[in-house]
Amino acid sequence: MSVSRTLLALLEPGPRHGYDLKRAYDEQFAQGRQLAYGQVYSTLSRLLRNGLVEEAGVEHGAGPDRKRYTITDAGVTDVETWLGTAENPEPYLQNTLYTKVVLALLSGRSATEVLDTQRSAHLKVMRELTRRKTGGDLADQLICDHALFHLEADLRWLELTAARLDALAEVVRP
C-alpha cells in the first residue's frame, strides 16, 4: 500500500502538522503497525519537492516540526487518479505455492502434504483474523474480512490443485 498517497489524501480535508498527520494515519490504518515519525517527515519532504503539498505557515515560536502542510491542486489530482486506478491483482502466493507443488511432484515427494501444510497455515491465520474480527469494531471487521477473503481465495486454488494433482504430475514429470 502506498503510504505516501495515503498521507497525501489525509491532507485533503485541511492542513495539518506532521504529527497530526501521523496520528490520523495511525488511527485509521496502522492496525498495530504505527508509522515512524521519520517516515512521515521524509514522505512530506518528498511530496513538497514534487509540488503535491506546500507549507501553510509555521506556528509562532515552534520548532521545525510545527510546520503545517496543505495539499496543492496537483496533489488533489494525484489522489484522484490514484483512487480511480485499480490495484494490480498480485498472484504472488500462487507462484510460490505452484513452484513448491511442482518441485514436490518432480522430486517424488508428497504434493498433497505441501498443500495440507499450507491449508493448516492458512486456516491458522484465518482463525486469528476471525477472532480479532469478533471482538473488533466495524473498521476491524472490514479490514479482517478483506484479508479473510484473500486467504480463502488461496485456499480455493489449493483445493482445486489438490483435486488435479494426478493430472499435474503427468504434465510436469518427464
Partner: protein, 226 residues
C-alpha cells in the same frame, strides 16, 4: 487431559455402488468446534450422519462417552439424539406448520417438558440469537438468515453435548452466514457444547478450533494417532 467425547474409527459406508466412507477416523473433544472440511461428495455428510447416529456404518466403531453407538438399539439411539445432540442443517429442518417459537420448543416438548416451561426457554433462546420478535411467525414467513438463527436456537435449547451442523450457512449470503456462525459458535462455546461443523468453505471453518479433511471417503485425525 480427558479423552474425547465422541470417536469414530475406521468407518466404512457404502450406498449401492458408491463407497461414501472408506476408512474415516475422527474424534471430538468436549466443547471444541471441529470443522470437517473437504470437497463436495467426499463423504462429509455421511461422516456426520454416522457420528450422530442417523446412519449406521457398515463397519468401524463409534463411541460416545464410552458407549458403543453402533451396538445401541434404534430406540436408545433416538433417545440419545434427543437428549445429547442438537442439529443445524443447510435448510428445511424447521417444521413449517409450527411457529418459530414452537419449533424451538419442540426438542424440549418431545422430551416431555411442559409447554409453558419449554416455550419460556425457547423464547430466551430466540432472544439470545437476536430474533426474539419472530416467535409467532411461521418458518415460511421469515428470511433464510432468520430461519437459520431459529435453527441454531432449536439446536441449543436442550443443552446438548454436541451440535451437528451440516453446511449451516450454505444457503446464506456472506453477511448472514457470518452472523449465524458467530451466534452458533458463541452460544455453543458458552454452553460448553462441542460442534461438528461440516463445511467446504474456509471462512466458515475459520470459526472452528481445529479441522479434519475428508478426501474420497477417508479422513485422519491427528488427535487419534497414538
Amino acid at each position: 487431559m480427558t479423552g474425547p467425547l465422541l470417536v469414530g474409527r475406521d468407518l466404512h459406508k457404502t450406498f449401492g455402488a458408491t463407497q461414501a466412507l472408506r476408512g474415516a477416523d475422527v474424534s471430538v473433544r468436549a466443547g471444541e468446534v471441529l470443522a470437517v472440511m473437504g470437497p463436495s461428495g467426499s463423504g462429509k455428510s455421511t461422516l456426520l450422519h454416522c457420528l450422530a447416529g442417523i446412519v449406521t456404518p457398515d463397519s468401524g466403531s463409534i463411541e460416545y462417552q464410552g458407549r458403543d453407538l453402533v451396538a445401541m438399539s434404534d430406540a436408545e439411539r433416538s433417545a440419545l439424539r434427543r437428549t445429547d445432540f442438537g442439529f443445524v442443517f443447510q435448510f428445511g429442518q424447521l417444521v413449517p406448520e409450527l411457529t418459530c417459537l414452537e419449533n424451538v420448543a419442540l426438542p424440549l416438548r418431545l422430551g416431555g417438558v411442559k409447554r409453558k416451561v419449554a416455550e419460556a426457554k425457547a423464547r430466551q433462546w430466540l432472544e439470545r440469537v437476536e430474533v426474539g420478535e419472530l416467535g409467532a411467525r411461521r418458518p415460511g414467513d421469515v428470511s433464510g438468515g432468520q430461519g437459520q438463527r431459529v435453527a441454531v436456537a432449536r439446536a441449543l435449547v436442550g443443552d446438548p453435548q454436541v451440535v451437528f451442523a451440516d453446511e449451516p450457512t450454505g444457503a446464506l449470503d456472506s453477511l448472514n452466514g457470518e452472523t449465524v456462525m458467530q451466534l452458533l459458535t458463541e452460544a455453543a462455546r458458552s454452553a460448553n457444547a462441542a460442534v461438528v461443523l461440516v463445511t467446504h468453505e474456509a471462512r466458515v471453518a475459520a470459526h472452528s478450533d481445529r479441522e479434519i479433511v475428508v478426501r474420497d471417503g477417508t479422513a485422519t485425525d491427528r488427535e487419534l494417532v497414538s
